[in-house]
């Protein structure tokens, strides 16, 4: 029989089945088959293309299928400058994504406005949508983007299935004034 030590479930030595929690099984499935939505606006978008390309090959991580429709995407990858003119569009794209959803902010511009501290640039996308992982760099190297995605995977794997029902999550969305259909 498998033992439960320190809250961890060990696999059973017998053939044929494995014991784990539903959260973890689904977490692992989700993490290894993410459908990213690349919201690539500028320079970081080209580095994201390089990440997708043959040398760095994002498909290794089960992310072969780019989802250009927000409705079927799990991971919003914001790569590049977001201007104030573009901000409502980004927000709308985020709102259109179905739960569960994660956000990866690639590059200095998306994370904080970067070198563009100007009247027209949004100083970080976390002013309008919640962000899970930030990737620094102007632009970040593909290795860095992959590192960010690995961090997203780590989050996804350990995240509870019922996160979206938690008060903490709801109050966070509330802080951003984002309506949720989760009751």
């Amino acid at each position: 029989m498998g033992k439960i030590t320190d809250g961890k479930v060990e696999t059973i030595d017998y053939q044929g089945f494995q014991l784990t929690t539903l959260d973890k099984a689904i977490g692992a499935a989700r993490a290894n088959s993410m459908w990213p939505l690349p919201f690539a606006t500028s320079c970081c978008g080209i580095e994201y293309m390089a990440t997708m390309g043959s040398n760095y090959d994002l498909a290794r991580f089960g992310m072969e299928r780019m989802s250009f429709s927000p409705r079927q995407a799990d991971l919003l990858i914001v790569a590049g400058t977001i201007s104030k003119k573009l901000a409502p569009i980004l927000r709308q794209v985020y709102e259109q994504m179905a739960e569960p959803k994660w956000v990866l902010s690639v590059g200095a511009c998306a994370s904080s406005g970067g070198i563009f501290d100007t009247y027209s640039v949004l100083q970080g996308i976390d002013r309008i949508i919640p962000v899970d992982v930030y990737v620094p760099g102007c632009p970040p190297r593909p290795e860095q983007i992959i590192d960010g995605i690995m961090n997203i995977h780590a989050l996804v794997k350990q995240e509870s299935l019922r996160r979206r029902y938690s008060d903490k999550y709801k109050s966070m969305l509330n802080d951003y004034n984002i309506e949720t259909d989760v009751k």
Binding site: K84, K85, S112, G113, D117, T118, Y119, S120, Q123, R127
Partner: protein, 170 residues
């Protein structure tokens, strides 16, 4: 330096012969003929430059505005860079306009490509191009209530909290 087939002197003489004292001043910084013209005549002169059979200055390279906040009644300049691809000859035409009435005739009827350049100049400086088919903001949001490239407006957004103003000269 320049491998143009006509000289600045020749072009200037030809311009002066046609327009006389409408050419307010001229200089050649870095070998580029620069003439200043009254804003009311800029359209006519640019049209003539394009249609003239000798000069053939018919390729609009660039159009933009400049703000000189301290020059009374000459606050804005509209600068046209026009190029003659046949003669490989460039000319810069400047027209100054006052802050009180920042208006100049559009050249979209001469060069179609001037359309967006004029819209951008309007967006940045608030210079009105009379007769422009669609003069509205192009790069900034339409409800923006100022023209950001004017010198009196600041660059920064002012919402950033991670910067200590003492270190940025603000």
């Amino acid at each position: 330096m320049s491998n143009s087939t006509i000289t600045n002197e020749f072009a200037l003489a030809r311009l002066s012969a046609k327009f006389g004292d409408k050419i307010i001043s001229s200089e050649t910084p870095f070998d580029l003929l620069t003439i200043e013209v009254p804003s009311a005549d800029a359209h006519e002169i640019i049209q003539w430059l394009k249609e003239d059979e000798v000069l053939k200055v018919s390729y609009l390279t660039n159009l933009g505005g400049v703000h000189y906040p301290t020059d009374k009644d000459r606050e804005f300049a509209v600068v046209y860079h026009i190029h003659s691809l046949v003669n490989n000859f460039r000319i810069r035409v400047k027209a100054f306009i006052p802050l009180g009435n920042p208006a100049i005739a559009t050249i979209t009827d001469i060069f179609v490509g001037a359309n967006w350049m004029e819209r951008e100049t309007f967006d940045f400086y608030g210079i009105i191009f009379t007769g422009h088919p669609n003069l509205k903001r192009i790069l900034n949001e339409e409800d923006m209530d100022y023209h950001p490239m004017r010198k009196e407006y600041q660059l920064e957004d002012d919402t950033r909290q991670d910067k200590d103003n003492r270190f940025f000269g603000r």
